[in-house]
């Protein structure tokens, strides 16, 4: 679907609060604009982002057209155990993109 960038530390201490940064390329077409013929350009945005940590949801975002193109999200979570972080974006057509990152908790 699109190019996604994720920044997650590869290693963290147990109980440490660490930041996750995500960016995905997407025009986030608002549905407010018109093309050169004056026809409305249909809305097409990423409306949902979910981050799970070993299967448990730790952060979710419901997005609206007021989010800038190439939506950037930075948030925090607690290092509980080694495992996998899964990031999933969903657009207006129901298409999803999933990225994963591994973290080692020491």
């Amino acid at each position: 679907m699109a190019k996604a960038l994720i920044r997650v530390p590869t290693e963290a201490k147990k109980g440490e609060v660490f930041e996750i940064k995500t960016l995905i390329s997407h025009p986030m077409e608002t549905g407010q604009r018109r093309d050169e013929m004056g026809r409305p350009i249909p809305r097409d945005i990423i409306n949902r982002f979910v981050c799970t940590y070993n299967g448990e949801e730790v952060f979710r975002a419901d997005l609206f057209p007021a989010i800038a193109a190439n939506p950037f999200l930075a948030f925090f979570t607690v290092a509980t155990e080694s495992g996998e972080l899964v990031f999933r974006w969903t657009d207006d057509h129901g298409n999803t993109q999933t990225e994963t990152a591994r973290i080692t908790v020491v």
Partner: protein, 166 residues
């Protein structure tokens, strides 16, 4: 009520302003051919933002405090304005932020983003980049685990608006 055949004084279905060519040119130069309400027909109002907030709050009231918005006071480009919202909370199982909701008072739509957090978040802080149609107040409402709501706001001045470029 109007009698049959009688013309209404103000017929909103037809343009009421008739301009001569000279007046039209003058008006175009002054940029007043359209009333402001028609130019920004899709714009939300503080009332729309209040209605969107009510959908989150229900009958509860949000107290002012605990919520901080970090946004540049002057943004050159409304297409991408960095926004960090943070809530003063220990983020423990007993006491944490459930969700944070961002509202715009002057964008075409009042909702900007809803973030769902929990004790696993560790820190109640989210950063994103938003679009702003014009200079306005941004409001954030946080729902806490004890059922209380807190709000914070910030004023932003925009020199180049989002949404209008073709």
């Amino acid at each position: 009520m109007l009698a049959r055949g009688e013309k209404p004084v103000f017929d909103l279905s037809k343009p009421t302003v008739r301009l001569t060519r000279r007046q039209f040119v003058a008006a175009t130069i002054l940029g007043v051919t359209l009333p402001p309400t028609l130019r920004h027909a899709a714009e939300a109002s503080p009332e729309d933002a209040a209605a969107a907030m009510k959908a989150i709050l229900g009958d509860a009231q949000a107290r002012v405090g605990k919520v901080t918005l970090d946004i540049p006071p002057i943004a050159e480009n409304g297409n991408s304005v960095p926004l960090t919202v943070s809530v003063d909370s220990p983020m423990t199982l007993a006491e944490h932020v459930r969700s944070i909701h961002i509202f715009s008072e002057e964008n075409p739509l009042p909702n900007v983003a809803h973030f769902t957090l929990g004790p696993r978040a560790g820190k109640a802080q989210v950063t994103t980049r938003i679009r702003l149609f014009k200079s306005q107040k941004i409001v954030a409402v946080a729902a806490l685990s004890d059922g209380s709501f807190w709000s914070g706001s910030a004023e932003v001045v925009i020199t180049l608006a989002a949404c209008i470029e073709e």
